[in-house]
């Protein structure tokens, strides 16, 4: 049962990453992140 859940979660993760990349969400971070 746990292995099935893990497989489902991994599939979900892969789909989310693929969708994100398709949307062009692999943005290059260039800021100071509000550190100053």
């Amino acid at each position: 049962m746990r292995k099935v859940l893990v497989i489902l979660l991994v599939l979900l993760g892969v789909v989310a990453i693929a969708f994100g990349i398709k949307l062009g969400m692999l943005l290059v971070i260039r800021g100071f992140a509000g550190q100053i």
């Binding site: 746990r2 292995k3 859940l5 893990v6 979660l9 991994v10 979900l12 993760g13 892969v14 789909v15 989310a16 990453i17 693929a18 969708f19 994100g20 990349i21 949307l23 969400m25 692999l26 943005l27 290059v28 971070i29 260039r30 800021g31 100071f32 992140a33 509000g34 550190q35 100053i36």
Partner: protein, 428 residues
């Protein structure tokens, strides 16, 4: 004398820290921050992407950057790549990156090794003196490079830190505060809203986050003792706003009544409190989530002690573009204060930031109970000797439940168990 063994996860932490912060070209080539292709790849742990040495993108910082983009359709504001990455890692290994990769975990583990308190005997005063001297060196650096007022740096920075360290030297190592009081959270949020309304929204968010953290972990007496006078001071200064017929000191009176009622209702009447380790979910939802969504600013990053250590302080001291120091404002001093507080807490308590604050740890911890890589306890052979708890970097009790949310899968309990009652399994 038995040979001391370096914990395997420590080697992983050191490698992780070096790999994630390997951009030494910043110093050689005079560049401020690396912004090549690798900066688009999220790393699995908290490591500031604004640091001059950082190579990859901090998942939490990137999450807030994407989530905070204004004027886009909602589905475009969801950080799909980061969510997917964290889900995959969590499903396979749970909180393992917190132990084996995270640089801030390494700093906290090392700080906890500092001997303080009565158990350290004479050494505690030597340690106390060394910390005091290091503090003076930091003050000197700030005075020379950032032109901070020496008197203010000593009075508001060095002195409170030394008083906290003196408390640590007398009291020694401690357990994490056990409970999270909802009354403190509400009073803290109320204080933040009050500051935002009377003064400035940025000051309101910053003070609200600090206040809700302190009040959520303190007793109701401490909350009232700190919140009520602060509310009065806030009400006397700032913008001359009115609430119906009330203004000035009357608003302070109203805040005092609000704080008192909240404490009475939630603490005395309803008696609502939760485990303190649950506070990190609030940071995830409120600070990294809602605040970032509505303000468009990465407010967790702005207050993050890891960011101050790896990015804020190095950038201000180094100042490669000869202009960063001019940007230093009250927020920078607040961040340094938060970092000092976390350093102090980490000397006395095992990994306080990971257990109470870290939103990335909060997400991974949800997967701990279902992850493929997990621990298995043989309850028949376990004698509850507590060796596992003593070696655990997050101070959990594996003999109660080995896969609880704060287990960071360092496996020290497995390797140190005298009866081999704990085992590493894959899906078992």
């Amino acid at each position: 004398m038995p040979k001391r063994r370096v914990a395997p996860y420590r080697i992983g932490q050191i490698i992780g820290t070096v790999v994630l912060n390997a951009y030494i070209l910043a110093y050689i080539q005079g560049k401020i921050i690396y912004s090549g292709f690798l900066k688009s790849i999220p790393e699995p742990v908290l490591n500031c992407y604004g640091g001059p040495l950082s190579v990859f993108a901090c998942p939490l910082g990137s999450f807030q950057q994407i989530f905070g983009q204004q004027g886009l359709a909602f589905y475009l504001r969801i950080p799909w790549v980061i969510i997917g990455l964290v889900v995959i890692i969590g499903a396979f290994v749970g909180r393992t990156p917190c132990a084996w990769v995270c640089p801030f975990g390494l700093w906290q583990d090392l700080l906890y090794k500092i001997k303080v308190g009565p158990q350290a005997k004479g050494k505690r005063w030597l340690t106390f003196s060394v910390i005091g001297l290091i503090g003076l060196v930091v003050v000197a650096l700030l005075v020379v490079f950032v032109k901070v007022n020496l008197f203010k740096a000593l009075l508001f920075g060095w002195l409170p830190f030394i008083v906290l360290c003196l408390f640590g030297a007398l009291k020694g190592k401690m357990n994490l505060p056990g409970r999270w009081f909802l009354s403190g959270t509400l009073v803290g949020i109320g204080l933040g809203l009050f500051v935002g309304w009377k003064h400035d929204i940025n000051l309101g968010i910053a003070s609200g986050v600090v206040a809700l953290t302190l009040f959520s972990l303190a007793s109701s007496k401490v909350t009232l003792l700190l919140a009520v006078p602060t509310g009065f001071v806030i009400s006397l200064f700032g913008r001359g706003v009115q609430l119906g017929p009330f203004a000035g000191a009357e608003l302070g009176m109203l805040f005092a009544i609000f704080a008192f009622l909240v404490v009475m209702v939630f603490d005395q009447w309803l008696k609502i409190s939760l485990p303190a380790t649950g506070l990190k979910y609030l940071f995830l939802l409120l600070v990294a989530g809602l605040v970032a969504f509505f303000t468009g600013e990465p407010w967790f990053c702005k207050l993050c002690p890891q960011g101050t250590l790896e990015a804020g302080i190095p950038l201000v001291l180094w100042d490669p573009v000869q202009g960063l120091r001019a940007l230093v404002s009250w927020l920078f001093y607040l961040k340094v204060g938060i970092l000092l507080f976390v350093i102090w807490a980490a000397m006395l308590i095992k990994r306080p930031f990971c257990r109470i604050v870290c939103p990335i740890g909060a997400v991974y911890s949800i997967f701990n109970r279902v992850s493929l890589l997990r621990l298995k306890l043989n309850r028949e052979s376990c004698t509850r000797c507590q060796v596992c708890r003593r070696v655990c970097p997050t101070d959990i009790e594996p003999y109660e439940e080995p896969n609880q949310t704060d287990c960071i899968r360092c496996f020290e309990c497995v390797w140190k168990c005298p009866r081999s009652s704990l085992k590493i399994t894959l899906g078992g």
